[in-house]
């Protein structure tokens, strides 16, 4: 199913260019700006309304599939550096946030990162806050797209019990929606597992109220 599904979608113009970023430390700012500016010159950035409209009409406002940068994990520098660069270039950033990282007390954030597959660089290891804060997430949501990437940076295989599902799928949206005043539109598992990997996990994601699942090779529209 994998090859035909992807090929058919692309043949019919149902695709996007997605650039996945993780850590964007201050030392990478110039490089990040050059990269995003290059994409900006070649392709149009895609916001949530553009994506919703495409699924409704089959058309892009610009006439062609555009690009969408995703910044994973909820690093503080996603706000300080990546979002600032996106703002400068008038690009919509898509921020996939591990809400447990955000909720972790500052003195324990480095430990949380090390034990949850969140990579750090030396310039972050100062003991200062390295995760985004909830006010920063709320601020981002006003002009970018923010959505949960589980609470604990977990994959499907790590989420077993009903309590796990609530903690990693349901509660991150509840928390984020309360902070942003919006409905977080998307969800992404660690490792980018696609919709269809597990009926039980799919059901939990749908019941939580998400309408997109971002996987490694697809964006799945799962609800209105």
């Amino acid at each position: 199913m994998t090859w035909p599904a992807h090929r058919d979608a692309i043949a019919q113009g149902r695709y996007l260019r997605v650039i996945n970023y993780h850590n964007t430390p201050a030392s990478s700012r110039l490089t990040l700006r050059r990269q995003l500016n290059s994409y900006r010159e070649a392709f149009s950035p895609v916001g949530l309304t553009d994506l919703d409209n495409f699924y409704a009409t089959g058309r892009w406002g610009t006439g062609r599939p555009g690009f969408l940068p995703v910044f994973y994990e909820g690093y503080r520098n996603s706000y300080d550096i990546a979002a600032a660069v996106c703002d400068e270039l008038d690009i919509t950033g898509w921020f996939a946030v591990c809400t447990g990282f955000v909720d972790c007390p500052v003195p324990e954030q480095e430990f949380f990162a090390r034990s949850h597959w969140i990579d750090l660089v030396d310039e972050e290891k100062t003991g200062d806050r390295i995760a985004m804060s909830w006010p920063e997430i709320a601020d981002l949501s006003a002009r970018h797209v923010v959505y949960p990437h589980t609470a604990s940076h977990d994959g499907i295989a790590d989420v077993v019990s009903d309590e796990d599902l609530y903690r990693e799928v349901v509660e991150p949206k509840t928390r984020m929606d309360a902070m942003t005043g919006q409905s977080a539109p998307a969800f992404a598992w660690l490792h980018g597992s696609p919709w269809g990997s597990s009926p039980r996990h799919d059901a939990a994601v749908a019941a939580a109220g998400y309408r997109y699942v971002f996987s490694n090779t697809m964006i799945h529209r799962i609800a209105k």
């Binding site: 992807h6 692309i10 149902r14 409704a56 058309r59 062609r64 269809g196 490694n216 090779t217 529209r221």
Partner: protein, 68 residues
């Protein structure tokens, strides 16, 4: 990389194909090329292989657009 847009909703009506088929055809040619390089059929259900093909094809597409 390229991400395919799929609609999992039961009631969904697939959107009409994009009119920029010339661009889609160029991308498909490269996808088919890399599929053949990796070895067709055995790799068709391998998401890792699929991600690699979509990534390298997107890099090429970007380079082509950036050089125009």
């Amino acid at each position: 990389m390229f991400l395919a847009l799929v609609d999992e909703r039961q009631e969904a009506v697939p959107p009409a194909p994009d009119s920029e088929s010339i661009w889609n055809a160029a991308i498909l040619d490269r996808l088919d090329h890399y599929r053949s390089v990796l070895g067709p059929s055995r790799r068709d259900d391998d998401l890792g292989a699929m991600a690699s093909v979509l990534a390298v094809t997107a890099y090429e597409d970007f380079d082509r657009m950036a050089s125009r």
